[in-house]
Each structure stands twice: as structure tokens, then as C-alpha cells.
């Protein structure tokens, strides 16, 4: 019997960790101050699984990801937690040139099953290093799968898929979803990587988004109800990306707005726009509109509140394509 219960997004991640660590002895956690729990998704796990499976690393991101990487080659299933996803940039070589490329470069003969985790996104006014959203950069580099949930349900299901995947997966969670609560069943389930989710049905315009921006878009859609009927697609997974779900939606709405908190230049929104040009040009009645972070460093302080895709900017973008 399904127990109707609500837990937070980080509690959902922790449940995925706990269940996968119980299921497979090869799964272990490695990160900076994860035993104490910088964020609550690891709190209590060291007490439960011991310090050999919930490992505090020194401030050495290259060493840390290398530890995960090397142990993955030997058959373990590491989860390496960067705390902030921007800290993964310390080990750009490992992330961009090694982890995702290793399988192919060596003849596609052995897997590299590792999960990378980090928070990202605007909302804490602490600027670029802590807020940067790396999925645009990550999808540019072949070999790494990338996902970000917008709900606790998706968080648990995506994390389980990430841990079980035989490739490097970067699991991002948005800092703005830290306290978000939602329904998570007690029964076993997974959310496959590469499957988008229609979070709201609509007829007039498709909005493709992810993470905390799903909730901003839902707010805007409610406001526009009766005037513009907005369909909202949560990408959930950036690589692999579920283009079919998007094209099916555009076939109905013929309009597309992409709300992407990452930098506008050469990012996920740009990539999807190009794919829609190549595979769905005839479906569109208006040019694709991007609502992204402008091409400037993410600022801290009070100005952050208007460089991010706000409900006002999202509404303006929707109105722009629905003129």
C-alpha cells in the first residue's frame, strides 16, 4: 500500500543513497565534509555505514575525483560530492577530458560507473563560484550524463538511475530546491535518465526548463491561465536529452520558450534551439525564445535577483513568442 508522505528533496537524495548503499557494497560516498553533512543529504550516513563508505576527502578536488574514477575502474560505484558543482572546475581535466572520454578512448571495453554530485544555481547571493550551473559546459563534452531534478520524487528516482548507470553521471541539484517538499513513495522506483517530464499540460506555448525554474514557470503559467495556455516540460536530464517529448509538445503548441538559468552563450538552451531548428523547424510558428542568465558572471549581492530568469522575465519571454 502506498504511504502518502512528503519529504524534502535532500531527504529524497539521502534515501536514494541509503537504499543503493544497502543494495550494493561497491557504492560509497566521497566528498568534502560529508560526514558532518555540509548539506543534509549526507547527515547521519557515516553513523550508519561507517567512515570507510562515507569518506571525508581533503580539499583536493582532482585527488577526490581521481579516487572515485580509479576505484570505478576497479569495479566500485563511487559517489563523489563536490558540495558546490562549481568546485568541480578545479578538476576540469578529470571531468571534461578523462571521466567522460575514458571509455571511448580505450576501445569501449570497460565501464566507468561514477556519480558526481553538486549543488548549483542562484538564490543565495554568493556569486559565481557557488552558483555556476555547469550543465552547459558538461553537455559540450561527450561521455558524461547530466541531470537535475525539480521535485523530491524526481530527485530520488534520478539519483538511483545515476548510481546504477555504467557511465559518469553528474547529478546536479539546485540550491533553491533545498527545502522543497513533495510526495515520494516508499516503494522502489527509478526515474530513467533521458526522459523529460511534462509538468503542466497546455496548448499555446511550450516552456522547456529545469530545476528551480520549473517552479517559477509554473507560477507564471498559473498567472497567465485563461489568457495563454502554457505547457511546461521539465528536461530533468540534459544528456541524454529527451528531444522526442519536446518535439511532440511543439507539434501541439508551435511555440517554444527555453528557460535556462545557466549562461546564455553556448549553453543548453542554445543546443536545444539548434536541435529544434534541425528536427522541428516546420513545427514552429515563431522563433525560439531563450530566457537565460545573461552573458556575464553571476553576480552576488542584490543584483542576482534580476540577472536570473525571474517570473517577470519568463512572462515577457512567453508573451514575446505569443504575440
Amino acid at each position: 500500500m502506498t504511504e502518502l508522505r512528503e519529504i524534502s528533496l535532500l531527504e529524497a537524495i539521502k534515501e536514494a543513497y541509503r537504499e543503493e548503499m544497502q543494495r550494493d557494497d561497491n557504492v560509497y560516498l566521497l566528498g568534502i565534509s560529508i560526514q558532518a553533512g555540509t548539506f543534509p543529504h549526507t547527515t547521519g550516513l557515516c553513523e550508519e555505514f561507517g567512515p570507510s563508505r562515507v569518506v571525508d576527502a581533503p580539499l583536493a578536488e582532482s585527488g577526490m575525483i581521481g579516487c572515485a574514477f580509479g576505484s570505478a575502474l576497479q569495479g566500485m560505484r563511487p559517489i563523489v560530492d563536490f558540495m558546490y558543482a562549481g568546485f568541480a572546475y578545479y578538476c576540469g581535466s578529470e571531468v571534461f577530458l578523462q571521466a567522460g572520454h575514458f571509455h571511448f578512448m580505450h576501445g569501449s571495453t570497460f565501464p566507468v560507473p561514477m556519480t558526481m554530485v553538486g549543488t548549483c544555481g542562484l538564490g543565495r547571493r554568493v556569486a559565481n563560484e557557488h552558483a555556476t550551473l555547469p550543465y552547459g559546459a558538461l553537455i559540450h563534452h561527450p561521455g558524461i550524463k547530466v541531470c537535475m531534478p525539480s521535485t523530491p520524487y524526481d530527485a530520488k528516482g534520478l539519483m538511483k538511475s545515476a548510481i546504477r548507470d555504467n557511465n559518469p553521471v553528474f547529478f546536479l541539484w539546485h540550491i533553491g530546491t533545498i527545502a522543497l517538499k513533495g510526495h515520494v513513495p516508499t516503494e522502489e522506483y527509478v526515474v530513467p535518465l533521458g526522459l523529460a517530464d511534462v509538468k503542466r499540460q497546455g496548448r499555446d506555448v511550450t516552456v522547456l526548463t529545469s530545476g528551480v525554474q520549473v517552479h517559477n514557470c509554473l507560477t507564471v503559467a498559473e498567472k497567465l491561465k485563461g489568457e495563454i495556455d502554457v505547457e511546461i516540460i521539465d528536461a530533468r536530464s540534459f544528456e541524454p536529452f529527451d528531444r522526442d517529448t519536446l518535439l511532440t509538445s511543439i507539434e501541439k503548441t508551435s511555440r517554444l520558450v527555453i528557460v535556462d538559468e545557466d549562461y546564455e552563450r553556448g549553453g543548453f538552451a542554445a543546443e536545444v534551439t539548434a536541435q529544434v531548428m534541425e528536427h522541428g523547424y516546420d513545427l514552429l510558428d515563431a522563433p525560439v525564445k531563450r530566457v537565460c542568465h545573461p552573458h556575464m558572471p553571476i553576480p552576488g549581492g542584490y543584483m542576482e535577483a534580476y540577472t536570473t530568469p525571474t517570473p517577470e522575465r519568463i512572462e515577457a519571454g512567453i508573451r514575446d513568442v505569443c504575440r
Binding site: 581521481g66 575502474l73 569501449s108 571495453t109
Partner: protein, 328 residues
């Protein structure tokens, strides 16, 4: 640790093969037969051979770029022919001809390589972490040159290996040159192993032209790490009597390195000649046996070349490549 006569002969055979195949690579690249580059091993291959000769089959190792690690793998008992095929861009290459110069021998826990110098260090931490976590008894042989110890990831790895008491041998083949810079110009001091005590890692400095000293050092370091005492560092001091990569300059900063000195080193510091002399002096082998080892080894290049030549150039369709990026 004293070497037995069998161990000395094994080291010597491996060195003769390594130096023969190094010169085979030189011939291949000079005649335009390799698809990529080559970094000559020259007279610096005694440490490379010693690093591999005494490992167990399941011990992960990360070969050094010098001599493209051929010495490191053949001394482990790996047949290097698929690695030559890789260098020639052939379907039979150990990475299916995709990499130009990477090696991959999963059966020997050599998973791959990297063109980014120092990439080996963090990955060795992980290989050793898994060995310790699962109590497999494996040790990790992490080979690299002096230049790589400038990478921050080398220091991160030494820190983590020491802190977690991981079974890693930091095997440094110090040829006193970091690409086109003298070590003295880019590193404060003459010995890389001065870093080790800072992390509480014991270290030895060895004459890298002395094959048997290298072999003894390898046995000692392997025994230390295998017994669970944590990481160990060995610095083998050697020379580079040629340019960094074939066809590049042989300068230290703005200074040309003297051709006469290079020729003298190549002659005087040849580790196979030095080792042969010792084997004969110590009564381990006769001159005839030494000659026989060279003669036997001289057959191998033709066999390798024939193997590579019968394999077609790897030019698979793009569709096959893009679907090979992710593991199932």
C-alpha cells in the same frame, strides 16, 4: 633487497627488449609509419623495466610517457604488439586505433592512459583505494617523470595516499628535464623525492642507469606497500640524451643541449651495456648468453610489424563511433 640471478636475467632480458622496441619505434616514426608522436626512451629505460618486472598480474600500474611505457608493459609480460598497432592507427590496436598513443590492457589492470601529464596521480589513488577497501592485496605502480611532480594533482595524490595509507609506489623516473626546461629551472632543488617526507612517505634515491639497483628498489618498494605500510617513493635518477619528443628541439630554455654530451651519455650511460658488464663480471651470464639474448630479441620487431601490417587502418564509420561513447 638482493636480487637472485634469475631476477637479474629477467630484468636484463626485459631491458634488451625494451631498448630494441624503443629503437623500433624510432625507426617507425622516422619513416612516417606512426600516426602520432613518440617520446624516445633512449638510455633511460632501466627504471621503466624495473617498475614492471616484479608486479603481479592484477597490480594496477600507470606507465610513464617516456618510451611510451613500452618498457613498463612488456616487463609485466604484456605482449606489446597491439600497442604498436595502436600507434599505427590499426584496427588491431589495443584501443581499436582510436587513440594514437593510449594503452589499455584491462587483464593487467592497466585501464588507460592520458595525454595530460599528471593525470595518473589521482587515478592511482582510486585504484589503490579500491584495493585497500576490498582488501585485494593489490599494489599500484604509479610511474611518471620529474616534470609531472609539478602538477598539483601529484601533491593531492601523495597527501591522500599518505593520509589513507594506500598501497601506491610513487615511481619517479627523473631525467632532469621537463620537456624543454631543465629541472633546475622549474623545481627548487635537485631531488624530486624531497617532497615525500613532507607527506610522511619514505623514499629512496637510486641510480637510474643501474638496472639492478632499480630492480632492488622496486622489490623493496613493492614489499613495503604490499605489507600494508602505505605508500613508498622511489626516485630513479637518469638522463635524457635526446629531444623531448621526436622532432622537437633539444634545448634547456634558450640553451642548446650539447650534441657531444648527448652522444657521450648515449654511449657511456647505456644501461644494457652496464648491466651486461655486471652480469659477466659476477658470473651470472657469459658473453655468449648476452649475445644470444640480443639476437633472440632482434627477431621481435619484424614479428610485431607483420602483425600491425596485416591489420587494416582503423577508419570505422562515424555512426559506429558515436554509439561507442557510452557504456551499456
Amino acid at each position: 633487497m638482493a636480487l637472485t640471478n634469475d631476477q637479474k636475467l629477467k630484468l636484463f632480458r626485459n631491458l634488451v627488449r625494451a631498448m630494441t622496441l624503443d629503437q623500433m619505434m624510432m625507426r617507425l616514426i622516422r619513416t612516417g609509419r606512426l600516426v602520432g608522436f613518440y617520446h624516445e626512451g633512449g638510455v633511460a629505460l632501466a627504471p621503466s623495466v624495473a617498475a614492471g618486472t616484479f608486479l603481479e598480474k592484477t597490480d594496477p600500474s600507470w606507465p610513464h610517457l617516456r618510451g611510451h611505457g613500452i618498457a613498463h608493459i612488456l616487463s609485466r609480460g604484456i605482449d606489446p604488439k597491439t600497442y604498436f598497432a595502436e600507434h599505427m592507427g590499426r584496427e588491431a590496436g589495443c584501443c581499436k586505433g582510436r587513440s594514437s598513443f593510449h594503452m589499455s590492457f584491462p587483464d593487467f589492470h592497466i585501464w588507460g592512459a592520458s595525454g595530460n601529464i599528471g593525470a595518473n596521480f589521482p587515478i592511482s589513488v582510486g585504484l589503490a583505494f579500491a584495493a585497500k577497501h576490498r582488501t585485494t592485496g593489490q599494489i599500484v605502480m604509479n610511474c611518471s617523470g620529474d616534470g609531472s611532480y609539478a602538477e598539483g594533482r601529484a601533491h593531492e595524490a601523495m597527501l591522500m595516499a599518505a593520509n589513507w595509507s594506500l598501497p601506491i609506489v610513487f615511481w619517479c623516473e627523473n631525467n632532469l628535464m621537463s620537456q624543454h626546461s631543465a629541472l633546475a629551472d622549474v623545481f627548487p632543488g635537485e631531488r624530486i623525492s624531497v617532497l615525500a617526507p613532507g607527506y610522511g612517505i619514505p623514499a629512496d634515491v637510486i641510480d637510474g642507469q643501474d638496472l639492478f639497483a632499480c630492480g632492488e628498489a622496486a622489490l623493496k618498494a613493492i614489499a613495503h606497500t604490499r605489507s600494508g605500510k602505505g605508500p613508498y617513493m622511489v626516485e630513479c635518477v637518469t638522463v635524457r640524451c635526446h629531444e623531448h619528443s621526436v622532432g622537437s628541439v633539444n634545448k634547456a630554455g634558450t640553451q642548446q643541449r650539447a650534441p657531444e654530451l648527448m652522444a657521450k651519455w648515449r654511449h657511456d650511460l647505456d644501461p644494457a651495456k652496464l648491466a651486461a658488464k655486471r652480469l659477466i663480471e659476477d658470473g651470472v651470464a657469459t658473453e655468449e648468453q648476452i649475445t644470444e639474448i640480443w639476437a633472440e630479441t632482434a627477431k621481435e620487431p619484424a614479428e610485431i610489424e607483420a602483425f600491425c601490417e596485416q591489420s587494416p587502418r582503423a577508419t570505422p564509420p562515424i555512426e559506429d563511433l558515436v554509439t561507442a561513447v557510452y557504456a551499456a
